[in-house]
Amino acid sequence: MKESAFLKAAKVKNLWRNLNWSLVVACTALILYGLLVLYSASSYESGRAAFWWQLGFIFVGIILASVMAYVDYHFWLKLAYPFYFVALILLVVVLIMGKEVFGAQRWLYIGPFPLQPSELAKIAVVLILVKEIGTRREKDTKFLRFLRPLALVLLPALLTFEQPDLGTSIVLLFIFFPMAYFGEIRLGYVLGFLGTILASSPLLWRLLRDYQRNRFLVLFNPDVDPLGIGYNLRQSLVTIGSGGILGKGYLEGTQKQLQFLPVRHTDFIFAVLAEELGFWGVTLLLALYGLLIYLILRVAQEAEDDYGRLIAIGMVSLWLCHIFVNIGMTVGIMPVTGIWLPFFSYGGNNVLVNFFAIGLIFSVALHKRKFLFYPQK
């Protein structure tokens, strides 16, 4: 559909009026909170290098998000297929020649920059699902409408499972369910698929590697692998628990229990927060996450079309899954996987994924044609 020059100009003018200020505030609060904790977490590292790097990533991220938000999201959706295929190819490449990190192949080097194809895959899967579920083809049977997006999710999920990056497979599968639900895919099929996964769990269990099984088993029996994951989990619980109600104070965490983890400024950063800022700090974080989710759901409600709604739902599902799996593993109710905490974990790849998501959500919020004709109440 071609837009007249007038309509385009009018839309740009309306961008500022449409800007969702409460969402800006919520995101900013989370980013600042995250930086505050990362500063403390990286203190034992070399000159808080992680903190300064993170600041740089966020700067790049803000530019990325601004560009994403400024351009109509329908344009970005046009890139869904090429993006998806690039991500798939990179997943295959990393399987073949990836660098071994903690026994899993996850990194590709683009010059000096480490790229994690599994992070790219998360965005690619959200975009492809938006495009597939949001586009209603008249010829499609209800079953085909369910099967096609499912196949598009399963392919990268299997590739990441093979890496092995169990965490990302779980995230990719998780995203599918809310998006299918909001995309009006027949509920019976979706629940049938969920049931199939649960029913085949004994089979899946056999596919896991020994150390992956230990990460599940240790949740029920702390004596599993007492020199490895069992020890780590025990220390994580001691660290969080010892934070108590008020915490040990900012920058006051002894962190001794945390230093066994080489990833404390990435995957286990929540434990640093819980130790230093205590139960109140943790409650504040969960409240902020709740607020963020609420505001994005409002964006979804007010979205112009199915595509906009699905983008918001997809991104919020991605974050929800990350929040639950990451915090869940540090408090010993989820298996340990390399899943970052949104706005908190250190890392260029995840910061850019987060800002990509923010940018798209803002694009959905900004590019609403109806406000042109019906002034806001």
Partner: protein, 582 residues
């Protein structure tokens, strides 16, 4: 609104998941908070790792060539180490305070985990630390295995050495379970078989008292020793090989191969070094002088030289296999020189050899004959046959680093120098000079293939890998790199020529009693008075069991044939040892 119900359901799911986390945190921090605080304050568990013994290396008769021996090492737990104890510690282990401080700063392990400060300490230092242990909280004494090479220089270029892992290696291998202070193979077999030799570290979770001294072991994982390597090397032959090089002040290489399977029986290069220096910590002065002498470059495998007349076997094979000449009738008259273009090429015997047929020419190593033959064969076919024998490729020997030879041809010369190929280049190539370069091991392998009738093996040093308690892990069988189709006629001409060579001049000194030997010598002019000299030989001619190759770089000795007595010594050692052990 259309999606109202769905939004409500999804929002409820979000709230539910966040509440689960919040509830769990309430339980951990509010309900159990005080308990955990107590545990955290009294948390005196330490994770201590102990090294796994590295596998040993043995010769084919079971003589130990490299082994880990117990020594003491001092580890510290930074959390427990008192600032004021550092001077005392510095004095006992004789390590400057600044160096201790620097090691503490660059330590990448958690501050409650022990890390290695100094290794290889003797009993006396260990005793002093034991006596002073009350003044030295956080200092842990550990018995630690340390590499020992009982034969010093003898195996430097084969076994290599181990040393503390470097920062670069840590960055690229760190995820393979390596941490700072670990010992890793740096060169030779220590490097190429690192994954087999390396022991598995043990781990202990221990409870310590307020002084950081262990009270109780909570969990333990036993260290696992690495695997042993059994080499095809024969100690006696190896000793003789190095002795020849050292006693005669040679900067050269010796290779002894079993042509039946590619096993390396001896391989020595000089100058060499004592690998024990690296284990103890080599001084930079010693290191510099060894580096300057090029002692770290194994000439047998990592350097390349013009092969001189030893290359004539390739020229012969190319001529016969390509049917360029009829060996029965092909004769060349040698007046001591030949004019090619406007240049005069001399024979090594300037008075000339007279009329030569192929067998005589091999036996006399007549250059004029081979200049003429090379011109008839042409550079492409010479290069083709040199490449069939893999002279410009890696032999694939099981060492970490290897050089490969250079076989020139007109295309190569055009590309690298921009100059056309002249007939003189062909003549030079035919006698193994000009731009032809080979590694001693690569050339020895060619003679092994000629000795066994055309099978080019991948030479190897390791015969067998066993667990520390003797169970087989892997048997390395011989690998055939190429099966070269050589006619019986070609082989018999080479054999006859090389047997006859042992009747000429100094080369006669290679002869053994009762065992026939075939040999070819080589002398490659480098500068006016210095040359690279070679001898390659095999025996017994009828059923070859051993190939011997000697090389001396920039030799003051005039001709390769002067190496014959040394080749004789090596062959004698091999055959006398064989008759001693039935």
């Amino acid at each position: 609104m259309k999606f109202q119900k769905r939004f409500l359901t999804f929002a409820l799911l979000c709230v539910f998941l966040l509440l689960i986390l919040w509830g769990r945190l309430f339980f951990l921090q509010v309900v159990q908070g005080n308990e955990f605080k107590l545990v955290s304050e009294q948390n005196r568990t330490r994770l201590v790792s102990s090294p796994g013994v590295r596998g040993g290396i043995y010769d084919r008769n079971g003589v130990c060539l490299a082994k880990d021996q117990p020594t003491y090492s001092v580890k510290v737990v930074p959390d427990d180490l008192k600032e004021e104890a550092i001077p005392l510690l510095s004095q006992i282990i004789s390590m400057p305070v600044e160096e201790i401080q620097a090691k503490l700063d660059e330590n990448n392990l958690p501050s409650w985990e022990s890390f290695t400060l100094r290794t290889g300490l003797g009993e006396d230092v260990a005793q002093k630390i034991e006596e002073q242990h009350l003044k030295l909280p956080g200092v842990v004494l550990q018995i630690e295995p340390r590499r020992n090479y009982p034969f010093g220089n003898l195996f430097a270029h084969i076994i290599g050495y181990v040393r503390e892992i470097s920062k670069e290696e840590l960055a690229s291998l760190g995820e393979g379970g390596y941490v700072g202070g670990d010992i890793i193979g740096k060169t030779g077999l220590e490097k190429s078989y690192e994954d087999y030799l390396r022991g598995q570290k043990g781990k202990q979770v221990i409870e310590v008292n307020a002084l950081g001294q262990p009270i109780k072991v909570l969990h333990e994982l036993e260290p696992q020793p690495g695997n042993d390597l059994i080499l095809s090397i024969d100690l006696k032959l190896q000793e003789k090989a190095r002795q020849i090089l050292v006693d005669n002040n040679m900067n050269g290489a010796v290779v002894c191969l079993d042509p039946r399977n590619g096993e390396i029986l001896a391989m020595a290069s000089t100058p060499d070094y004592d690998p024990n220096l690296f284990v103890k910590g080599i001084s930079s002065k010693d290191y510099e002088s060894l580096l300057k002498a090029q002692a770290f470059i194994p000439k047998a495998t990592q350097d390349r030289f013009p092969p001189g007349s030893t290359f004539k076997v390739i020229t012969t094979i190319a001529a016969l296999e390509e049917r360029v000449i009829d060996p029965k009738t092909y004769k060349v008259f040698c007046p001591g020189y030949i004019d090619i273009g406007d240049r005069r090429f001399y024979c090594w015997q300037t008075s000339g050899h007279g009329e030569q047929d192929l067998i005589e020419a091999i036996a006399n190593s007549c250059n004029v004959f081979f200049y003429t033959l090379a011109l008839d064969v042409g550079p492409e076919r010479l290069a083709k046959w040199a490449r069939i024998f893999n002279l410009d490729g890696y032999t694939g020997v099981d060492l970490a680093d290897e050089a490969k030879g250079l076989i020139p041809d007109p295309e190569w010369k055009e590309k690298t120098t921009g100059e056309p190929w002249y007939p003189g280049d062909t003549a030079n190539m035919g006698i193994g000079q000009g731009d032809v370069l080979v590694t001693p091991l690569g050339l020895a392998n060619v003679y092994a293939a000629i000795a066994n009738g055309g099978t080019l093996y991948v030479p190897h040093l390791v015969k067998e890998i066993r667990t520390y308690d003797g169970l087989p892990v892997k048997t390395i069988s011989s690998v055939v790199k190429a099966q070269i189709p050589l006619s019986e006629e070609t082989l018999s001409y080479l054999r006859e020529g090389m047997v006859k060579a042992t009747d000429r001049g100094t080369t006669q000194k290679i002869k053994l009693e009762g065992i026939s030997v075939a040999a070819k010598t080589g002398t490659a002019q480098i500068t006016g008075e210095k040359q690279d000299i070679w001898i390659a030989a095999y025996a017994p001619v009828e059923n070859p069991e051993i190939v011997v190759l000697l090389m001396d770089e920039y030799s003051k000795i005039l001709y390769g044939s002067y190496l014959a007595p040394f080749a004789h010594e090596l062959l004698s050692v091999y055959f006398s040892e064989k008759s001693a052990t039935p």
